[in-house]
Subunit: 218 residues, 2 copies
């Protein structure tokens, strides 16, 4: 277990937090390669709480991103504000709306997004140190904010979302569900996962490839 | 996709619901075998809500098992009260404290447990029809209530829990983390998963074996 990877979570549930399948598949792919990992999440309130049965907002309810992320991490998650990129060889961020609602406000502001300060600082430290980053599903919407203009990434093939990402300064590359897009210069690996997946095994294939490619670059 | 499997969830999170890794690994194992599945959960309140970061009860908070299970199922979960065993070839139940707090009260009452009525009725219908059942982690604590005395199952090797299970009338068989115990007469397959697993890949190995064995029996 030589290499160590930081995994940033954004809550627990596809509509208001981290996409659970993607997060678990990421941890499984890391563990299958004998890579140790540490989960982090920002200690902030979620944008809102979504009833995942109805899809409606659970008005009046409030949940904390770090506390909910602990469900996926079985309690072993740390405050992102205390995370140090020096301690890790790579960073991976699963998707779900949490990446666009809690780690950034892409779901609300589109191409005018801002990125949560703790996450931005942490991710940029990896980039500056030449360490690889894997962004899954909708998380690549933050690519230009982390890497700067011209960075290549994918969220699959959704035209509207791709246009919003291009408007941030990134270059969007269409990609099939089980595939990845690699920006070698920036050491960024992205995969569509549930932006396109119709079943969990499709998401797993792309995430396995993403995780393995990030590890090999580290 | 000929065979169809029902997966019963008990919330979302190891300490008060379904163990998330076990649930996702179950769905992945089914999908890898091209088996279609439908998730169900009881439409009841959780016993309580646990803050998974601190391990303490979130007093005053209340969550619904079905609504929280929808997080794992990406919205595609149905009320267990409406589930019909005739529609499925097999049943699988991931673990987590939800199996011992929401699907039963084993966590509170030990060997004097009662099983949630909708779940008991559903599971017994599979047993009566000669259809296989897979119970993961702590879920096998309900075995004697579903199958009757003498049923063979495992929760790993925890002496106290095994004794409580034997006191219900079941026969507990010690089992390594990546292995399964098969009661051929009852068509029950059990695996310890996070009762013993130190890492997600260990849980995955046992769950893959459990799911594949259940499918092959169906």
């Amino acid at each position: 277990m030589s290499k160590k990877v930081a995994v940033v979570l954004a809550g627990c549930g596809v509509y208001d937090g981290s996409e659970i399948h993607e997060a678990v598949l990421t941890l499984l792919a890391l563990d299958r390669r004998d890579i140790s990992y540490q989960c982090f999440a920002p200690n902030i309130n979620q944008l809102h709480v979504i009833n995942h049965l109805t899809g409606a907002e659970a008005t009046g309810e409030s949940r904390n991103v770090l506390i909910e992320a602990a469900r996926i991490a079985r309690g072993n998650v740390q405050d992102l504000a205390q995370a140090r990129a020096e301690d890790f060889d790579a960073l991976i961020v699963p998707g779900g709306f949490g990446a666009a609602k809690n780690l950034s406000d892409f779901a609300v502001k589109g191409s005018a997004l801002t990125v949560q300060p703790d996450f931005l600082k942490f991710a940029q430290a990896f980039h500056r140190a030449g360490k690889p980053i894997g962004l899954i599903c909708i998380a690549p919407a933050m690519s230009a904010k982390i890497f700067g203009e011209g960075v290549e990434c994918t969220i699959g093939n959704d035209v509207e979302t791709a246009a919003a990402i291009e408007a941030t300064g990134a270059k969007h590359v269409a990609c099939a569900v089980q595939k990845i897009v690699v920006d070698k210069r920036n050491k960024l690996v992205t995969t569509p996962a549930y932006m396109l997946a119709q079943r969990i095994s499709e998401a797993a294939d792309g995430i396995n490839d993403c995780v393995n490619t990030v590890i090999d670059m580290a």
